[in-house]
């Protein structure tokens, strides 16, 4: 396992997309130390900001220290495993295609943005636009799994095309906005206008009284088997899904009717609009 100890304490964000198994596996320590990182408008090298020890031959990287100002860790990764023991900055796991990335702390905005595969797990909170698409992109998340134990900000899963997002804490406004397909599970209370403009896909809301837009139409009480499979899938991934959910009756709404209207929002019966 390769160990990277973050020594950076400045306020200008550091763009370190070189911290990825794809970039580090097969390189000697000397080669790793010379890998470029962007510091503001100047380019530095990895050794300027991180102490490096061990080797990455097994594809495993441990990042230690306060990385709140370090962006793009694990961006575009396709294999291996990264463990960040502490908080991390924006764009963690953005556009990742494979492998596992675990953050034992909180993450900034755009966590897992446009990810296409692999598993990104954040043990703490995330900022806005987790699993979303970058401005101007047609699609957000296109595959993989994004698990957030804590709270999430606004526009989680915006323009999501495929994949699975689960949020354990509270979620901000516009959850799944303009979603095209995929699945989002939100365990805690959610903000305003969930699913606004969604075409297809599933929002599974476990909280009481989700306030939906008037452009969602109720289709009645259901006990869909697919929810049992979703919760079993989450448990297999090690995410704590509530135990009693399979036995619940769910209210399903179709929407958003301002868009294609084939999206669905599930909420347990007992909650109402």
């Amino acid at each position: 396992m390769l160990h990277l100890q973050c020594r950076y304490t400045g306020t200008i964000p550091l763009e370190a997309e070189t911290i990825s198994p794809d970039q580090l596996v097969g390189k000697s320590l000397a080669e790793m130390e010379k890998l470029p990182v962007q510091h503001g408008n100047r380019q530095g090298c990895l050794a300027d900001y991180f102490s490096i020890r061990g080797d990455a031959s097994d594809g495993a990287i441990a990042v230690e220290g306060d990385c709140q100002r370090v962006k793009l860790i694990g961006a575009n990764m396709t294999l291996g495993r990264i463990l960040v023991d502490g908080p991390v900055g924006m764009h963690v796991g953005a556009e990742m295609r494979g492998g596992e990335l675990e953050v034992r702390g909180s993450a900034g905005d755009w966590a897992g943005a446009e990810m296409r595969g692999g598993v990104l797990r954040v043990r703490g909170d995330v900022g806005h636009l987790a699993g979303a698409g970058y401005r101007g992109s047609r699609y957000g998340m296109r595959g993989g799994v994004l698990l957030i134990d804590g709270a999430a900000g606004n526009e989680v899963g915006a323009v999501m095309r495929r994949g699975f997002i689960a949020v354990g804490g509270t979620v901000g406004d516009f959850l799944g906005v303009s979603m095209i397909a995929g699945t989002v599970v939100a365990r805690g209370p959610i903000g305003q206008r969930p699913g606004a403009g969604m075409k297809r896909g599933s929002l599974i809301l476990l909280s009481e009284n989700p306030a939906l837009l008037p452009t969602f139409r109720e289709s009645g009480m259901v006990r869909p088997l697919i929810l049992s499979l979703c919760f079993a899938y989450l448990r297999d991934l090690g995410w704590e899904a509530p135990r009693d959910m399979e036995s619940k009756v769910w209210r399903r709404h179709w929407g958003d009717l301002v868009s294609l209207g084939k999206g669905e929002v599930f909420s347990p019966v007992g909650s109402s609009r």
Binding site: R162, F164, T183, R200, S202, V222, R223, P224, L225, I226, S228, L229, C230, A232, Y233, E246, K262, E264
Partner: protein, 280 residues
């Protein structure tokens, strides 16, 4: 033979059995049916994919294409139509050895079907009048072994049927094995070929007691009845285990003679020698 395993779950074990029995009907032999199939075992809620009781079904056909065609028809007509059921794959599903079932059945949804991809598995949700029919997109296949058989030769019809029933019950407990004939027992055992050119198989005259004296009979003196147990397995080890279980049970029931047919090697590439099997 190409084989697959289908898990069918339902709101109760009774409905899962109904679906399983119907979907494996008219599937005794590929001599005259599109597949050989039967219920392999029952599943309790804790072992099934969706937390409901179910049954495991095994299907065997000559090719993946034949298996896919048969399963799309059978699941579409017998499981999709059965109240509360859902259908899952339970074999490894590599891209070069899979058959598409849900992906072909989804069109019944007339545009209202939805899919959900969880990991590498895609599930189709087809709206039906009691909710949704859930069926997995692809099912894995494997190279199975079909045609494992035992010929149980008894003193009289009653005791022979009793021994065959006990043998079939013992084989039913072996995982990965099915007995596709009614109750697991065949009375019309066949040989390969016929004097009539259009027939692929005809009555096994050497084991018909009423033909003694007319044909060269294989029935030993003192025996009056023969039943055959045919079994198909997911691999050779499953068939061997099934045959062992059947032989032991029939022996305990006091059967006169136990043998098996290899039909001069025309049945397939596998030869299971009973004495070797029991001493291994």
């Amino acid at each position: 033979m190409t084989a697959t395993r289908v898990v069918v779950t339902a709101a109760s074990l009774e409905w899962a059995r109904v679906a399983g029995t119907t979907a494996t009907g008219n599937a005794s032999s590929v001599i005259g049916c599109d597949v050989e199939a039967a219920i392999e075992s029952e599943l309790c809620s804790s072992d099934s994919p969706d937390g409901r009781p179910g049954v495991n079904l095994l299907y065997f056909a000559f090719s993946r294409a034949a298996l896919e065609k048969a399963l799309v028809n059978r699941i579409g007509q017998c499981i999709l139509t059965c109240p509360t059921t859902a259908c899952y794959n339970s074999l490894p599903c590599s891209k070069d050895k899979r058959i598409r079932i849900g992906g072909n059945l989804r069109f019944f949804g007339d545009g209202h079907q939805m899919s959900k991809k969880l990991g590498e598995r895609r599930f189709w949700r087809i709206p039906v009048m009691d909710g949704e029919f859930l069926v997995e997109d692809y099912f894995g296949t494997t190279k199975g072994v079909a045609g494992g058989n035992l010929l149980l030769i008894g003193h009289d019809p009653d005791s022979t049927l009793q021994a065959a029933t006990q043998a079939a019950n013992a084989i039913r407990n072996v995982p990965g094995v099915i007995m596709p004939f009614p109750g697991g027992i065949v009375r019309s055992g066949s040989k390969v070929g016929s004097r009539y050119k259009k027939l692929k198989a005809s009555t096994n005259d050497a084991y018909c007691p009423t033909l003694r004296g007319v044909v060269e009979s294989a029935i030993p003196p003192g025996a009056e009845c023969v039943y055959e147990i045919v079994m198909d397995g997911l691999d050779l080890a499953c068939v061997e285990a099934g045959m062992k279980a059947g032989i032991n049970a029939a022996r305990e029931a006091g059967i006169h003679t136990i043998t098996a047919g290899n039909y001069g090697g025309k049945l397939g590439p596998y030869h299971l020698h009973l004495h070797k099997l029991m001493t291994a």
